[in-house]
């Protein structure tokens, strides 16, 4: 049984890892605190609910959710780059607007169920799995998805646009000197980040067979926690890529949550525990570096 609980941790962890990898791009690479994630996570879920009810192939639904998220993300970017609104505020604006967009997609209900319809977890690849693996199909599917997204992001970061993206976070003047607009790089990064987030929302919705407009609450913090814990805990393992660290971070985060619940910690204390965990993780990274922790 204990090992079955580990399967739950990995399954949940890998789903949120999709989002953590997206937030890695905006937060860690672009240095952009993107709050629109709170809105794009349920957006993915709502797109999933609406399209699956219409009978669209569940894998195509995943792509549609990614594109919808990317759309919202690029709006955050446009607000910031073209209209000169601060990064935090443009994220908040998109997060707020997403609420209405999500409700429009679900037709006005906060919770949209689609029980017993084909999802990525019960049709296609999943149904083709041999008997012995079928019980673990949820873990296998999310694992495959996480690997695809990880490899795609790694591949992208090596392309010319990817290199520009990495440069953009460190030194936007350098991007300008190469004859590129640093703003366009930001918009692209936000689109990818929010696309991944919406994909995570879409996969979670397909797993739970329902979409909840309120599911985005606290997603930014959760994704940041995964990224910070991942890059903090595994920073000495230099052969690991940032994306891998984000995946491990998300799994580690879920493991802590699970452990706390199993040890009988009342759910009231969960957020407090997470804040402490996050603080320890950040502080330990600062101490690891030369120059100390003082910020004053």
């Amino acid at each position: 049984m204990a090992l079955g609980l580990i399967e739950t941790v990995f399954r949940e962890g890998l789903i949120y890892a999709l989002m953590a990898m997206g937030v890695l791009i905006t937060y860690k690479i672009l240095d952009f605190p993107d709050l629109s994630v709170d809105g794009t996570f349920p957006l993915g879920a709502c797109v999933a609910a609406a399209l699956i009810t219409l009978g669209v192939n569940p894998w195509l639904v995943c792509i549609a959710a990614f594109l919808a998220g990317a759309c919202m993300g690029s709006i955050t970017g446009l607000l910031h780059v073209k209209l000169g609104i601060t990064d935090l505020l443009s994220g908040i604006l998109v997060m707020t607007a997403s609420w209405s967009v999500n409700l429009i997609i679900t037709g006005g209900t906060a919770i949209f169920q689609f029980f017993n319809l084909p999802t990525i977890f019960n049709s296609g690849i999943a149904s083709a799995l041999p008997e012995a693996l079928y019980a673990h199909r949820q873990l296998i599917i999310v694992f495959i998805l996480a690997v695809i997204v990880k490899l795609a992001l790694d591949g992208f970061l090596k392309t010319k646009s990817g290199l520009l993206l990495r440069a953009g976070g460190d030194n936007s003047r350098f991007v300008t000197s190469l004859g590129h607009h640093p703003g366009h790089v930001k918009i692209l990064g936000l689109a990818i980040g929010n696309g991944c987030t919406a994909l995570a929302g879409c996969v979670l919705a397909q797993l739970n067979e329902n979409a909840d407009v309120n599911a985005g609450k606290g997603m930014v913090v959760m994704a940041l926690a995964a990224v910070i814990i991942g890059t903090g805990a595994f920073r000495r393992l230099s052969f690991l890529k940032l994306t891998t660290m984000a995946v491990f971070g998300a799994i580690l985060y879920k493991a802590c949550l699970q452990a706390a619940l199993l040890l009988g910690l009342p759910s009231t204390y969960l957020k407090l525990l997470m804040a402490v965990l996050l603080t320890v993780s950040i502080v330990s990274q600062k101490i690891g570096r030369k120059g100390g922790a003082a910020n004053a």
Binding site: T8, E12, G108, L139, I140, L207
Partner: protein, 343 residues
Amino acid sequence: MKNTKKIIAAVLATVLALSLAACSKAQTETAASPSASAEASPAADVKIGILQYATHASLFDCYTGIIEGLKNEGYIDGDTCTIEYVDGQGEAETNSLAASNFVTKGYDVIIAIATPAATTSYAAAKDAGIPVVFSACSDPVAAGLVESLEAPNTGATGTSDSLNFDAQLKMIRAFMPEAKKIGVLYTTSEANSVSQLKNLTELAPTYGFEIVSVGVTDASEVAAGAASLLAKGVDCINNLTDNNVVNNLSVVTNAADAAGVPIFGSEKEQVAQYGCVASESLDYVALGVTTGEMAGKILKGADAKTLPVAVVTDATPVYSLKNMEKFGLTLPADYSSATNMDE
């Protein structure tokens, strides 16, 4: 670079392989465990998981009732069964994790309080065949939990709370014989509220009322919504079981008090604590007791697929003399036996 890729692939593959191996081992372990646990505590074999969607007075009343109902059927925590209670804090993430934990731990029945907890639990439990008993779910058919109230046929069943609008409207008419317009403030994204408003609007003319409604989308709009409702010249306000509005009821009461408009509640706590004058209130403890007893019956072998959903509409009138005085209302003779919440 290629090497790094290979290492990562290898690590991830090992992780997957390990967790898969872990799971298959887990199955044999659970198969062997009953004898082991039986030695430790002979009667604690039955395991019940209770998931409450959010921290909320009515939902907690429900939980209290469920424990009592289970006791009526002979299931006492730590004695004849093990009960694990999780309050999901209104977080989809916590609710979903708790529900999958119940399933992984192989619980015998999952009791879910409020619709979101019920749908999450049902999605997690249906493949494992663990019965889900829901409570305080206003429209289980629309939520996809059951095929019909009489024959659920899904593995989920439970109790549904339907507001008794006939009793409520009759009460408002008795309290305010001259009133014409009833104002309703509701949240457009809450499916329960939308369907309740529809029912109320259809019933109102029977009692000579007209319903004036204002929809809001979140907590920050409640104050503006209340103001615009009062500006439409309503004679009184009637609450639905709208989570958003009820959670921000003091905002509505302040505005209504200033305008001299009484509010009729949808639940007794609103009368006792939040300034409503009266209510035909559902008893959530009683709802919980019924739920607990249903779970007990399922544990004893009743089939969740055929056990019909129990719809609770029995309402008990309650009032607050203190709040009524503010609006110059007097207690109608028909309600002299109702409960005064001031005491």
